[in-house]
C-alpha cells in the first residue's frame, strides 16, 4: 500500500510532538535539564520546516497540561528561535558545534523568557526576573552542552536512518 507524502508528514509531526512532550514531562522534575532543545535541533536538521508544526503542537499540549500561564507566552517563540538558528546552520553535523548552540541557547533562555515581562511590569521587572534566573540559566547551559555533545550523533543518526528507511526521504 502506498502511503501519501501528506500522511507521512502527519505521522512525523505527531510522533515528534509526542516525543517532545514525553521527554519534557518525564524530566520536568529536574530544573532546566531537558532534551527538548536537542530534539528540536535534530528535528530541524532532519525534518526542516516541519519542525515548526512539531513545536507548536508541543507548546499547545504543554499549555493544556501545565496551564496557560505567563511562562507559556515565552514558549510561543523561544523554541522557534532555536529552530531558526538551527535552520541557518542546518548543514553542520559537528557535535561540538551543536553543543555550543544548545549551551548558548540554555544560557540565553532566561533573557528570552523575560521579554514578556517588559510589557507586563516594565524593564526593571524583566531585568530582575532575568538576574534571579541566572543560576537556572547556567544549569541549563551546562546541561544542554553536555547532553548535546553526548547524544547529538547517536540521536541524529537514529532519526536520519528512520526518516530514510520508514519515510523514504
Amino acid at each position: 500500500m502506498k502511503i501519501s507524502s501528506k500522511t507521512k508528514d502527519i505521522v512525523i509531526v505527531g510522533i515528534m510532538s509526542a516525543l517532545l512532550l514525553t521527554v519534557q514531562v518525564a524530566l520536568s522534575f529536574l530544573p532546566n535539564i531537558e532534551l527538548v532543545s536537542l530534539l528540536i535541533i535534530i528535528s530541524t536538521i532532519v525534518f526542516g520546516w516541519k519542525t515548526l508544526s512539531i513545536i507548536y503542537i508541543f507548546v499547545f499540549a504543554e499549555g493544556l497540561i501545565f496551564g496557560f500561564g505567563s511562562w507559556w507566552i515565552c514558549y510561543l517563540y523561544v523554541w522557534t528561535v532555536l529552530m531558526l538558528i538551527t535552520m541557518i546552520f542546518r548543514k553542520n553535523r559537528s557535535s561540538f558545534f551543536w553543543a555550543l548552540v544548545a549551551g548558548a541557547f540554555g544560557l540565553g533562555f532566561g533573557a528570552l523568557c523575560s521579554i514578556p515581562y517588559i510589557f507586563i511590569g516594565g524593564l526593571p521587572m524583566a531585568l530582575a526576573g532575568f538576574i534571579n534566573g541566572i543560576p537556572f540559566d547556567v544549569t541549563h547551559c551546562i546541561a544542554n552542552y553536555i547532553i548535546t555533545l553526548v547524544l547529538f550523533k547517536p540521536l541524529y543518526n537514529l532519526l536520519d536512518w528512520i526518516n530514510r528507511k520508514e519515510f523514504g526521504k
Partner: protein
C-alpha cells in the same frame, strides 16, 4: 591544518561561552543584597483582604527570608523549576482554583525575587499579601 583551525574555533567558542557564563554569575552575585551576619530583627505583616493585618516581629540568625519564616513555621511552599514559592502562610492556603497567590513586598514595594533569594538585614520589613488573579 584545516582540522587544527576547526578545533581552534571550537576551543575559542567554548571559551567564549564559559566567559559569558562566568560574567552572568558575577552579575547575579553582585546584584543580590548581601545578608548581614548575626542576629537580625525583622517585621513581617501577613495581609489577607477582608481580615485584620497580622504583624510578627522575628528575631533570627537566618540569612534568607525563607529560612527565617520556616524557622517560625510561618510558611509552607513548593519547589518548582523556577525555585521555591509560597503556598501557605500561617495556615492560610492560597487557593489555586481561585488563582490566589502570596505576594512578597518589602516596605510596600514588590520584590521580583524568589523568597529563598531574599537576603534579610536587620530592621527589614516585609509584607506577605494574599493576591487573587495571576
Amino acid at each position: 591544518m584545516k582540522e587544527a583551525k576547526y578545533w581552534l574555533k571550537v576551543f575559542l567558542a567554548t571559551l567564549g561561552l564559559f566567559a559569558l557564563t562566568v560574567l552572568l554569575l558575577y552579575l547575579f552575585l553582585n546584584k543580590r543584597n548581601p545578608s548581614s551576619p548575626g542576629v537580625k530583627e525583622i517585621t513581617v505583616q501577613v495581609i489577607v483582604p477582608g481580615e485584620d493585618v497580622q504583624e510578627f516581629v522575628i528575631t533570627t540568625e537566618a540569612y534568607t527570608l525563607r529560612q527565617a519564616l520556616e524557622e517560625k513555621d510561618m510558611i509552607k511552599g513548593q519547589t518548582s523549576t523556577y525555585g521555591f514559592y509560597i503556598t501557605e502562610v500561617n495556615g492560610r492556603k492560597a487557593d489555586e482554583s481561585k488563582q490566589e497567590w502570596w505576594c512578597i513586598t518589602k516596605d510596600g514595594e514588590e520584590i521580583f525575587t524568589g523568597i529563598d533569594l531574599i537576603n534579610i538585614q536587620d530592621k527589614d520589613k516585609y509584607e506577605l499579601t494574599l493576591m487573587e488573579g495571576y
